[in-house]
Symmetry: C2
Subunit: 295 residues, 2 copies
Amino acid sequence: MVSFKERYAELQQFVEEGLERFLPPEGEGPPRLREAMRYSLFAGGKRLRPVLLLEAYALHGGANPGDEALPLACALEMIHTFTLIHDDLPAMDNDDFRRGRPTNHRVFGEAMAILAGDALFNHAFATALEARIPPERLLKVLRILTEKSGLDGVIGGQVYDLEGEGAEPTLEGVRRIHERKTAALIQAPLMMGAVAAGAGEEEISRMERVGYHMGMAFQMVDDYLDEVGDAATLGKTPGKDRAQGKLTYPAVRGLEGTVEDAREEMERAWALLSVYGERARFLRDLGRFILERVS
Amino acid sequence: MVSFKERYAELQQFVEEGLERFLPPEGEGPPRLREAMRYSLFAGGKRLRPVLLLEAYALHGGANPGDEALPLACALEMIHTFTLIHDDLPAMDNDDFRRGRPTNHRVFGEAMAILAGDALFNHAFATALEARIPPERLLKVLRILTEKSGLDGVIGGQVYDLEGEGAEPTLEGVRRIHERKTAALIQAPLMMGAVAAGAGEEEISRMERVGYHMGMAFQMVDDYLDEVGDAATLGKTPGKDRAQGKLTYPAVRGLEGTVEDAREEMERAWALLSVYGERARFLRDLGRFILERVS
């Protein structure tokens, strides 16, 4: 039997190859722009969102991932990377390091970093359009993608995040940010994978709820690690969020409360997954893997 | 018979109403973000790209513009506005005024301006997805949109524009920028309107060529006016492009050469339109209207 780690590594490798396949080829566009896009896209990310998409696709009976799901998985990673590049900008969170390397704008300058983000965002849609699924399904996938990226998704979440700096920390305030900035881009892959495989409304809506709880748990763990981790593990300056006056989960619930709530969120996700039985084993293990980082 | 100006005003009004209809409604997303999006979207633009889209749709027999073409027209204006907001940023062209008003980042701050641009870009896709045309056509429209926005479209054009600052002005260099930064977003509406109306490959390809020549002429006229216009007519600081060391058409061809080349480009567009006879009268007049600004 394939272990969780083997399966994850396999999916991750599949995504790496997909990203190479779907990125603009040499000769397309300004070389320096392509270089800036690649710099952040191949910066050692865990490919969590693409992995979730591929797994949701398989869970709902999808049998041709290379043609049907991989373009969508890669699109998600491009959008995720676009949000990271723009979030790190001096005008935003002003981060110098990400995953242990200088941020995009530190290497390529601010103008190029803004444009590399824009280009990745655009190319995400171009890549999603490569998915060989029935047109109606593809349009549905794109609608989910724009909704979860938009004003009540990751872009709106970043606005609330910036507006929340220095504000009185409330549970409502911090959840509003996490729901949009993080959970939305965990919901999107789960829903999109299900749609690509031809799942029905009930299953898509279930994936949305699973993504919500997994995403919230994931961000709580992240906030926790930002408080207690060291620079080497984090690949960025620890405690920076708190120091910047960001609304973080531990600021509202304390460290123990954060771990408790993360567990509770994950248990809700698991409960929703129980209907799939053994087939959802990987997604359940993935949840455990996320939680283990705080144990 | 309806005059050119009356018809233009009519289409423009139709677009204004469409933008109101398709923008995110109150209650969706952070209010300040919506405000920043609206600020630049309703800044007195001529709505040239949406007007071109609606006209290309009508030219190819489209008969239900409100449902089939207007969402696409509005999407184009959102993308155009997104590029303007990002181009004006301090890290890019650092412009304080646009159309006689302070630029987005001067009013809302850099972070919000970046995010308003991102949100308009995303919302453009969400809006395009509202077009009630057959799924295959809609996917084709979206492919054109991503191509013309992408690495060899407007985003790549902005990179070449920035890289060209202070470089030796060559005709090849300046045309490479104008083809991408300007012509691509004139080609896109003409092609998308044709596709929405169900036009065939030959007609779509013709629209692409018409858009190329009209777009080049349009930008040449713009470069010319930047040299000779005054701040009141331009709504921005005249001569700024040249002063910034930007590659402009007059820098290569002189003022007279620029006007000559603009006329020649427009004549090529007209020649391609001749196949449509009287039905292309509005597009021809639009070309004349563009050229008249330099006469």
